[in-house]
Amino acid sequence: MRNTYVVMKRELLAYFSTPVAYVFLVIFLAAIGAFTFFLGGFFARGQADLQPFFMFHPWLYLFLIPAIGMRLWSEERKTGTIELLMTLPLSTFNAVAGKFLAAWVFTALALALTFPIWITVNYLGDPDNGVIAAGYIGSWLMAGAFLSLVACLSALTKNQVVAFVIGSAVSFIFLTSGLDIVLSAFRFWAPDFVVEVIASLSFLTNFQAVSRGVIDLREVIFFVSMILVTLFINTAIIDLKKSG
């Protein structure tokens, strides 16, 4: 546990010692603002809630989460520092969890910095803040699931661009696996229960319920187990690469 924390601290500082953190935060906040007010019709709807705000989170995460997750392992491979890290007395899972947590805490910071939107909606009307809190928690859990996927994929390559592109593509598949764009590829040959399972893995379906303010234990369990499973796969990939 202690080592996980030490790795997390180092990784988190690494974000802020390069322009990555600042560029990400500015783009994220600008994009989420523009989407909410223009595409989402925040004012035109005349409703005091953050539905048009949360609606765009999955689609922004599709590109922005791979941008913060792509460096986690591929940079270590590229610069060779993975050899330094993995010959220190810490378990592979400690390193994997530490890196993931650093990026996840960073997304929490990005989400926290959207507070002006929350203030705006409270100033203009009388929203249900419980629903908004549920939306934030759901969004953060979903971000974690995307992140663990991208971290896992970045362990496979030493090229950050490859990690980014594959990360976005795989994130897209998981995001939309409840929609016909993915399901139609399976429907004609796979048995029904397989199609059902794939559909149930959809981030979008799982997030939509949460963003409407219904925190169902099922969705929480879905995202948390998604994160844990991918972190274990990530650990296995790192260990597997040791045997060359």
Binding site: V6, T18, L84, P89, G244
Partner: protein, 255 residues
Amino acid sequence: MDVSGLLEVHNLTKKFGPLTAVDDVSFTVAQGEVVGFLGPNGAGKSTTMKMIAGFLTPTAGRVQVCGHDVVEKPIEIKTCIGYLPEGAPLYGDMTAKALLNFVAEIRGFRGAERRRRIDDVVAKVNLEEALFRPIETLSKGFKRRVGLAQAMLHDPELLVLDEPTDGLDPNQKHEVRELLRGMAADKAIIISTHILEEVDAVCTRAMIIARGKILFDGTPEELRAGAEGAESLDDVFRAITTGAVVDEGGVEKSA
């Protein structure tokens, strides 16, 4: 367990696909020994060191460090080894001080103990003036010294240093050699090098590796005596690794 063998390597083999990088290598290193790994590029020196440090898993064979098996007890052996990887890879965005703090914390040193160890090792490798600069802005010599410092921080019983003097100027090379000599008595040290006089200067034992096999294992003096008519260690090295007859370079003979 044989107490004298801090490091025991038994029938170690590493294959990368069809390529055999290390081929059935066995040797033992005891406390007080400074072993120089010599060999052409691609001979398997670094691969052997990576397996000893627990970064690569052997295809076959065993490595024991401080009485623990490297594959079975990865954490235990890593507390016992100080390792400088090839090219001294370091987190470029951190300062030397921050990196040493990070390594010290992972190694479980806190508070005053951490400060004492870092001050101690920084003084040993003369790193004071570079301590608060980002590593990516440091010269090659300073980077190498940061790498050495992180390897020595926990006063390990076994030091595995892959080309510790690469990129250093002659004065710095001399300092590092002095440092290694000073530590040699109560440790086992393995260094890899291309520089043959380094073997003469610091090593009590030389091992020549080529094509994944150990071709020579003995004292530097024996190495020198090994090839008749050889003018320098360079000639001996060429004779052993290429099978060439001295003075008639290039003639192939099975080694």
